[in-house]
Amino acid sequence: MLSERELERYKRQILLFGEEGQERLKKSHIFIAGAGGLGSPISLYLAVAGVGTITIVDMDVVDQSNLNRQILHYDRDVAKKKTVSALEKLQAINPDITINAIDATISADNVSKLVGRADGIVDAMDNYPVRYQLNRVALEKKIPFFHGAIRGFYGQATTILPGKTPCLECIFPKAPPKEVFPVVGATPGVIGTVQATEVIKYLTGQGSLLDGRLFIWDGLTSTSEEIAVCRNPSCPACGDPAAAHTKPGKKK
């Protein structure tokens, strides 16, 4: 049940998806991998939307050079653990939800345990090796995986529904080379809010997801495109035809 305070707090979005939708958000647990450029807008918007439990994982400390884009962290937070800073901000912005901020390096050994019984995984990482691990765990647990990535003024996003859509390895079988990528903070702002919107739609059963569609944002020309993406039958990650089906908006 939603409290009087919650009914008031979420009034303007209850107009969109009703108290039932709000209850679904409240009962949900979303796992966010990374508290950086993408993780900042994703976690802030999911927190204010009232997602009941948010787990956010990062292993880094706040660096001065993060502050042009990682809006969860303030100047005073430099040298603090990102998880400490994230926990403080997310609890302050919405004290009615539960935040688990975990200081850890995501690896093949711990990823399944870290994700636990979350209802969805949001990709806010900055590298493909960890993205591939998150993708595998999403497939294994049959939970959606909300992908996003950025560079400079460009970004991409897609929503992976195990058993239904192509997985991350179908779409991007090989990682691009590592680099110190250029970025202006508004770019992860655009892509992170696309990802947060996807999560909210999935949890409340609204609209059409970016399933089987790769959204591409070009901030330099202010244009967006989408590319239809297909499953690779011989994908090393999801090539198994027996993979189960996950329906948007249907929650256990």
């Binding site: 993408l38 996003g148 990535a149 691009p176 080379p177 591409i216 590319i227 239809a228």
Partner: protein, 92 residues
């Protein structure tokens, strides 16, 4: 015949986009893209290796359908084709 080539992200910065070409019959996808990329060494090197093969992470689409870069050397383009070439972006 007329074929449009669209580059995305970093490739677009280096090579431009929406390039209309008029290749000869039998031109392969590889030859077409390499021909355009030649105009800028940095652009060429971003997409192709020293041997002129697509770098392994490059995504190639023809009329919205994925073409494996390993097949691009034996796939001829056709009139009206739209070719998209893009790199996955990795930052977060």
């Amino acid at each position: 015949m007329s074929v449009k080539v669209r580059f995305f992200a970093r490739f677009r910065e280096l090579l431009g986009t929406d390039i209309i070409t008029e290749p000869q019959a039998g031109t392969t996808l590889s030859a077409l893209v390499l021909g355009i990329a030649q105009k800028n060494k940095e652009g060429r090197d971003a997409i192709f290796d020293e041997q002129g093969s697509f770098r392994e992470f490059v995504i190639l689409m023809r009329n919205g359908k994925r073409v494996e870069t390993s097949d691009a050397g034996k796939t001829a383009v056709a009139d009206g084709d739209e070719i998209a070439v893009f790199p996955p972006v990795a930052g977060g």
